[in-house]
Amino acid sequence: MINKVVKDADTAIKDIQNGQTIMLGGFGLCGIPENCIQALLRKKVTDLTCISNNAGVDDFGIGLLLQQRQVKKMISSYVGENAEFERQLLSGELEVELIPQGTLATRCMAAGYGMPVIYTPAGVGTEVAIGKETRIFKGKEYLMEYAFDADFAIVKAWKGDTAGNLIYKSTARNFNPVMAMGGKITIAEVEILVPAGELDPDQIHTPGIYVHRIFQGGNYEKRIEQRTVRTK
């Protein structure tokens, strides 16, 4: 079996260059590649275009990359919870492209399925449709949206094996599988790394063919954005 294991996050991201486009998995702060974000902070690579559903919070997740001015452009669906983000956007330091969440996910997926475009009704008749080719299928209008073209995808899974196969946990799955498929080079960090053969092939969410580098992460904070509970 091909061995995809690298030593650590710094090794995994070592060839990411200034100005490249990277997909970052996660929804809010759930299922984000915490170790690789720390490594990108250490590497101080700049002018990144980040494709990620959200942009983290001021002091966690992609928010940390924004604080260090490493991001040139964000491609996201919702960027609500981040004061530094807002400041950079209003001052013109940061470019932002907002796209519907389903379109974002499906453009990642299309890249992993080898399909150049998708057609979606999301955004028809709105400013999202401006300048885009449209087609009518069965009487309904659809926008043509391109598959993403990302140099790297960085994802977080729960378990992985040395062959790069991945299993996600709970809703930390979110964008991770489709981004794992969509990157030209995909880097996966996992909480538990096991030898090939220990994971049940029937239970794999992302087949190892999509994963180029894998390492066992550590010190996961897994911050909760909205802690909601009920009383017994």
């Binding site: 929804f27 809010g28 702060l29 759930c30 299922g31 559903n53 996201s76 669906s77 919702y78 960027v79 609500g80 807002e86 956007l89 209003l90 907002l98 519907p100 969440q101 389903g102 379109t103 974002l104 996910a105 499906t106 990642c108 997926m109 979606t120 009704p121 999301a122 955004g123 028809v124 008749g125 709105t126 400013e127 999202v128 729960w158 946990k169 709970s170 809703t171 930390a172 799955r173 979110n174 964008f175 991770n176 599988p177 489709v178 969410h205 897994k222 911050r223 909760i224 954005e225 909205q226 802690r227 909601t228 509970v229 009920r230 009383t231 017994k232």
Partner: protein, 218 residues
Amino acid sequence: MLDKNGIAKRIAKEVKDGMYVNLGIGIPTLVANYIPEGINVVLQSENGLLGMGPFPFEGEEDADLINAGKQTITTLAGSSIFDSAMSFGMIRAQKVDLTILGAMEVSENGDIANWKIPGKMVKGMGGAMDLVASAQNIIVAMQHVNKAGESKLLPNCTLPLTGVHCVKKIVTELAVLAVLENGGFQLLERAPGVSVAEIQAATAGKLLIEGDIPEMQL
């Protein structure tokens, strides 16, 4: 006149046994509290979960298990988890039966605006554009007028649109209204203690009133 819980309670009557339902943030989330016993519905959370359960007990929160509002939640017997592309796939393919969401404005031809106010910080549309473009059955939960006292039921939306010709029904603190296929808001029910004249005064778009308008049963 209804409060937010009253609006949620009235919308809960639209939820039928066997439905898959997506609830937006705000008043729509409250609808889950009023679904009658014996009505089995499955709540979809568009980050990738079917069968959203209640909030966890204190101390049992799981950072890996959240809803589309990023709140900690639980699963139920029969829940399933999937990636975000599949989540919007089932929305686009109209497997989700009912979508309930909030709005800033709705027009008399069913256009909805709920994501952007020019001049203010834009946070993004999230999944709202996908939901309104695909759902067959969309109910909007909102206040009839904005904070300035202006009607939110308009001939045309003034804010940037989220979707066109898609809203089927609106429940406000004053009324239940259907959006007619050829345009116009048809008044279906009045909130307790609210007169037709009050609803007329609060509605800027074309309002159709046929016969006696019954009071809502809550």
